[in-house]
């Protein structure tokens, strides 16, 4: 029920996110070391950390949608007949895809609108902080398109599956 090529995309996202987390720990450690040992606080560390956390969390949250790990309430829909559940699965996929589109488009507006000013103490454009959201929106669209593809192409298979966690 999945495209192999998107598995590679997921691996890439996970590797970047994991690397960013390790880097985040290292930078914070360096900040303490700079302040107490070198008596020269790295003033860029805090702002850079705030960018890194977005890279750790956001793209991976799109992967989380693909893998259904986000918290939600599924039991209300699960009380309905299987065919109705299928309808709601279509609706959810559509809504999440649309949210992904909105996320990408509007965040791109934010990127453009704030690109010509710098983040204080870091020097990179402020628009950079909205880029992870543009990418995340794109990933959501891709993963929801994948789900929609299989829902529409193989409805019978979906209907036969039991105990699907949402």
């Amino acid at each position: 029920m999945r495209f192999k090529v998107l598995d590679y995309l997921v691996t890439l996202v996970v590797a970047v996110s994991g690397g960013a987390l390790v880097l985040l720990v290292a930078i914070t450690g360096w900040q303490v070391y700079g302040r107490y040992v070198l008596n020269d606080t790295p003033t860029w560390a805090e702002r850079l950390s705030l960018l890194l956390i977005l890279i750790v969390a956001l793209p991976l949250s799109a992967v989380g949608l693909r893998e259904n790990i986000h918290l939600g309430i599924s039991y209300i829909v699960e009380m309905l007949p299987r065919r109705a559940q299928y309808g709601f699965e279509l609706l959810r996929t559509l809504l999440l895809g649309a949210f992904g589109v909105a996320m990408s488009v509007y965040s791109y507006e934010l990127v453009v609108g704030t690109w010509n000013r710098a983040i204080p103490l870091l020097g990179v454009p402020q628009g950079v902080q909205y880029l992870p959201l543009v990418i995340t929106g794109g990933l959501i669209v891709i993963f929801m398109a994948e789900r929609m593809w299989f829902l529409l192409r193989h409805p019978a298979e979906w209907l036969e599956r039991t105990e699907e966690t949402i």
């Binding site: 303490v32 956390i53 991976l60 509007y106």
Partner: protein, 426 residues
Amino acid sequence: MGLAFLLGGFVVGIVIGLPIAFALGIAALAAAFYEGLPELIVFQRMIAGMNVFSLLAIPFFIFAGELMMRGGIAMRLVRFAQAVVGQMRGGLGLVNVLSSMLFGGISGSAVADTSALGSVLIPMMREKGYDDDYAVNVTVTSSIAGVMVPPSHNMILYALAAGGGISISSLFLAGVVPGIIMCLCLGIASYVVAIRRDYPAEPFPGIGPALITGIVALPGFLTAVVIIGGVVSGIFTVTESAAIGVIYALLVTVFVYRSLSLHDFWRSVLQSIRTTAMVMVLIGTATSFAYFLALYQVPAAILDLLLNITESKIVLLLLINIALLVLGAFMDMGALILICTPIFLPVVRQIGMDPVQFGMLLMMNLGLGLTTPPVGACLFVGCSIAKVKIETVLRTIWPFYFAVLVALLLTTYVPAVSLSLPALFD
């Protein structure tokens, strides 16, 4: 009318099974659309919500908890607890509660508690003849200690949502006594149930071996001392303390216990980033949602409403507790802290309650929500580890809910429970 779009959109989203984080975001987007506001505000608020320095402590706490679980710190804490209280009748129930308190003092998260301790203790209890439902009951409810006993990343969220002015170190100190009281209540509950079900006792290993388990567990337990010490002494900021906690846990598991392989390390990273992604996105969209609540002046309206219903402080606090319990049953803790704090904090300030005490009340209510259906992350994790049905567990969990409620009432109506320890350090 716009408010109906916001709340209605959210409820419909939840009912049709959207993930909570995305239901919040979609509802906020609908409200922006209805109001003719630039839709990009929703995403700007999302980033703003995630872009707060003290929030960085959250992935670090999660990471430290994962390292401790996979690096054998959790296991050694359980052995120590077993040596201390295991020889009482139904001893493994008490071991479970005590371990939660010790481990909760490091991981900062109730869900991490449930999965770390549950995967060690539930099979152990089953082997010694304890029933599955009892094992899950104790594991799940005692994991609320992870939220109450410092450090707790949910307290950081609360300090943030309160708009500054509440010191995180006061919150950390304030959680100690309510956390201990709750564990005492749960200990009594698990003892009483154990006696009625005639569960066995563990043999006492002797003073010497018991002492050794303590010494072995100590380096791992010091992770908590490093984190809390860093915050309370103020030598490090909260975020720095959490990062140093990660580095310390790494050093202990690699060089002292020598039980963390490269594979374990990478597994810890993977699990941490997954949890972080879920928590952070929820924080982001909850911030967007809260923006519209503020725009529609919901906090002020609820303040008026509550103060008009009753003048009695006791009734008001009871109402707030009930509201939080109901909300907590349906929604996740992090999002609720961000949404409920601006709504209820002005109310309790009006009746003269200390914001630190309110924080404890909030933590305990929403922590209890993690263990109740329909949405209870700890309950789900506990049941899936034991492979039992939620219904089976719920049939016998009442004494444990009751124990938590007793602790909750004490925390609600006796300010000294929360406030005496922070006052000592002031």
